[in-house]
């Protein structure tokens, strides 16, 4: 009888600790902003924590930031050393909306300056937005429009976080085997 009581107490404590952990993560602003990293080896993108009290104000009445807050925080540039903004100067968020035709697809409309990006610079900027927004609940894919148009020389328009390969896992896997 005594043992059971002790076990239930231990489990309750474990649960409490687990819930505390989750709360702490959210309280710490568990969202990350992706920027281009400086260096010659490793992932081309790196993160800094999203600070709701920073450049972009959080929407009133919501516990977590909305996509607009995160995109605005991204466009305002990094605050940490070793990170560089991949966005051209003057790019601004025009609007964002959920795609009515495709569930989980978030459409982000940016100003015309974004169309100045091409090739790898465009890819880096695209995936900084995609990886950042994919942390939000319900976001499965992101479609980025510039001045209301999609960029024709993209391989595809609906981008997902899984498409960004940030590190060569094969090396790590092989090293582990050895």
């Amino acid at each position: 009888m005594k043992k059971r009581r002790r076990l239930s107490l231990f489990l309750a404590l474990l649960l409490l600790c687990a819930s505390c952990g989750t709360k702490t993560e959210e309280a710490d602003g568990g969202y990350l902003l992706y920027f281009t990293a400086v260096g010659s080896h490793g992932p081309a993108l790196d993160t800094q924590p999203y600070d709701p009290g920073g450049a972009a104000p959080q929407s009133e009445g919501t516990a977590s930031p909305d996509p607009g807050d995160l995109v605005n925080a991204l466009l305002s540039g990094p605050t940490q050393e070793g990170l560089v903004s991949p966005f051209p100067r003057g790019v601004a968020l025009q609007s964002w909306e959920w795609d009515p035709e495709q569930k989980g697809n978030l459409q982000v409309r940016l100003s015309e300056q974004y169309s100045g990006l091409a090739d790898i610079s465009l890819t880096l900027a695209d995936y900084c937005i995609v990886l950042t927004l994919s942390q939000l609940e319900g976001v499965e894919s992101v479609e980025i429009l510039s001045a209301g148009h999609t960029t024709s020389y993209r391989s595809h328009q609906v981008l997902t976080a899984a498409e960004a390969v940030l590190s060569d896992r094969s090396a790590a896997a092989k090293e582990d085997v050895t």
Partner: protein, 495 residues
């Protein structure tokens, strides 16, 4: 027992001992050498391997890039086809991307071993993956890049280069090589060096102990010898080994001990002689006094004679003690204040003093004194020297004999000569006449009232003022004593 205690007290602590210090210094040097041995070759090998890998990977990437640039524009199918025709060159991963970083070929997925890859069916959804590695980004911006690191026994090397067609970057190639063989080689090198170092360290430890023991054993022997001599065993000598500084030290020690032994023997002899010399008159006094006391019928005349003899013996005792005191003063006290002294004047004073004794003995004293014989000395010391020599010449002379006293200068020296026509000194005794209590003819010396210390006082006094004294036989009879002093010139004396 006492010496054991002393040696235990003086035992040097292990870490303060010279042997430990020598051993430690050898070890310290070898530790530095071993550290260098364990670091420099490994670092140099790593650098060499890095350089070799960089050159190799860059050239491989360049070969692939040149094959792909023939395509003008890169599409997944074409790239896969070309890449499957190329040898993978032992690389672990090859990626080919378009200018946006989209992976067109991944060796982990698209390697068909040289066979034609199956064509994609229309229903199959295309897969998009973007290689967002720094190497790929740098290559797509037009630069070659290489990176290599060694960790966990594996060399991981990556290289990327742009695929350029007519000055335009049409894609990038990224290659990666994981080299365990070279890693194992480097590890083996490290292991071997470590094993060699351990063996060298062990040998060094033993050798440093042996060498330091060899070196310090002689120092320990010297220390032991010093202690033994310090305890009074003056006959102890060190065996000289080799010709190094320690051998010289041992030789110096032996010489020092020789001198110490000689001094000790002289001291003992002196004490013994002094005791004997003091004992003789004391015994005579005791005997004479006992005779007077025990013989009640002794007539007054005899008693007077005995008392007179007691007085003579007491006077002799006084003389001996005065001479001993004079010698002690010469040994221990510094010379008094010196001044230029006219030798002729001092000799005249001494002759005047001795003349009554000479007259009584029937000995004539003749002087030949040159003017200007000035020496730097004290009046009393010079008088003592002259008096002792002239008195000796008179004492050991025959009735009707002569004593010649002369003073002259020769170059930088002033010479005083006292010659006599007396009994003379045998050739073999000449070097010993200045020794304390040495007498050529003991009976005659005692009869003449000598103490055996007069000439010793002369020698010590003369030496004290930078002079010298010698004795030699005179032809046809007697002896000549010559004293030399540095000449003191008038102006020197005044200054």
């Amino acid at each position: 027992m006492a010496s054991q205690e002393t040696s235990q007290k003086k035992k040097v602590p292990f870490f303060a001992s010279l042997q430990t210090k020598y051993a430690m210094s050898y070890l310290a040097i070898f530790v530095v050498v071993l550290i260098l041995l364990n670091t420099y070759p490994v670092t140099a090998s790593q650098e060499l391997l890095f350089t070799s890998k960089r050159d190799s990977l860059k050239s491989q990437a360049a070969v692939m890039a040149s094959a792909l640039m023939e395509l003008e524009t890169l599409s997944s199918d074409q790239v896969v086809r070309v890449m499957n025709m190329l040898d993978d060159m032992g690389l672990d991963r090859i990626l080919v991307t378009d200018p946006a970083g989209l992976i067109l070929y991944d060796s982990l997925k698209d390697d068909w071993g040289g066979k034609t890859p199956p064509t994609e069916t229309e229903t199959e959804k295309p897969e998009y993956r973007y290689a967002l590695y720094q190497e790929v980004v740098t290559a797509l911006r037009g630069s070659d890049v290489f990176y290599s690191r060694y960790s966990d026994k594996v060399f991981t090397s990556t290289a990327a280069c742009p695929i350029v067609y007519r000055g335009m970057v049409i894609g990038a190639i990224y290659i990666q090589e994981l080299d365990q063989a070279q890693g194992a080689l480097l590890l083996n090198l490290q292991k071997n060096l470590r094993n060699i170092s351990l063996v060298v360290a062990a040998v060094t430890l033993v050798m440093s102990m042996v060498f330091s023991k060899m070196l310090t054993a002689r120092i320990a022997a010297l220390l032991r010898a010093i202690r033994i001599v310090g305890e009074g065993e003056y006959g102890h000598r060190l065996q000289i080994v080799g010709r190094d500084e320690l051998a010289q030290l041992a030789e110096e020690f032996n010489q020092l001990t020789d001198r110490l032994q000689t001094t000790e023997e002289v001291r003992r002899r002196f004490v013994s002689d002094a005791s004997h010399e003091l004992k003789t008159p004391l015994a005579s006094i005791r005997l004479l006094a006992d005779s007077i006391l025990q013989n009640e019928q002794m007539d007054e005349e005899t008693v007077k004679d005995f008392v007179c003899d007691i007085g003579d013996e007491a006077e002799r005792l006084t003389r001996i003690t005065e001479h001993l005191l004079a010698l002690t003063r010469l040994d221990s006290l510094p010379a008094g204040k010196t001044e230029p002294v006219d030798v002729a004047a001092v000799i005249r004073r001494a002759v005047n003093m001795v003349t009554p004794v000479a007259d009584a003995a029937g000995v004539t004293i003749q002087e030949e004194l040159r003017s200007g014989c000035m020496v730097r000395c004290t009046q009393d010391d010079l008088y003592q020297v002259c008096f002792n020599l002239i008195e000796n010449a008179v004492k050991y002379n025959f009735a009707g004999g002569r004593v010649y006293v002369s003073a002259y200068w020769d170059g930088d020296q002033v010479l005083i000569e006292v010659a006599d026509t007396g009994v003379g000194i045998p050739e073999e005794d000449l070097p010993k006449v200045f020794n304390r209590f040495y007498r050529v003819d003991k009976a005659r010396s005692r009869a003449a009232g000598g103490t055996g210390l007069g000439l010793s006082i002369v020698r010590d006094t003369v030496r004290r003022h930078g002079g010298w004294v010698i004795a030699r036989p005179r032809n046809p009879e007697g002896s000549i004593f010559t004293v030399g002093f540095p000449r003191c010139r008038e102006e020197e004396g005044e200054s």
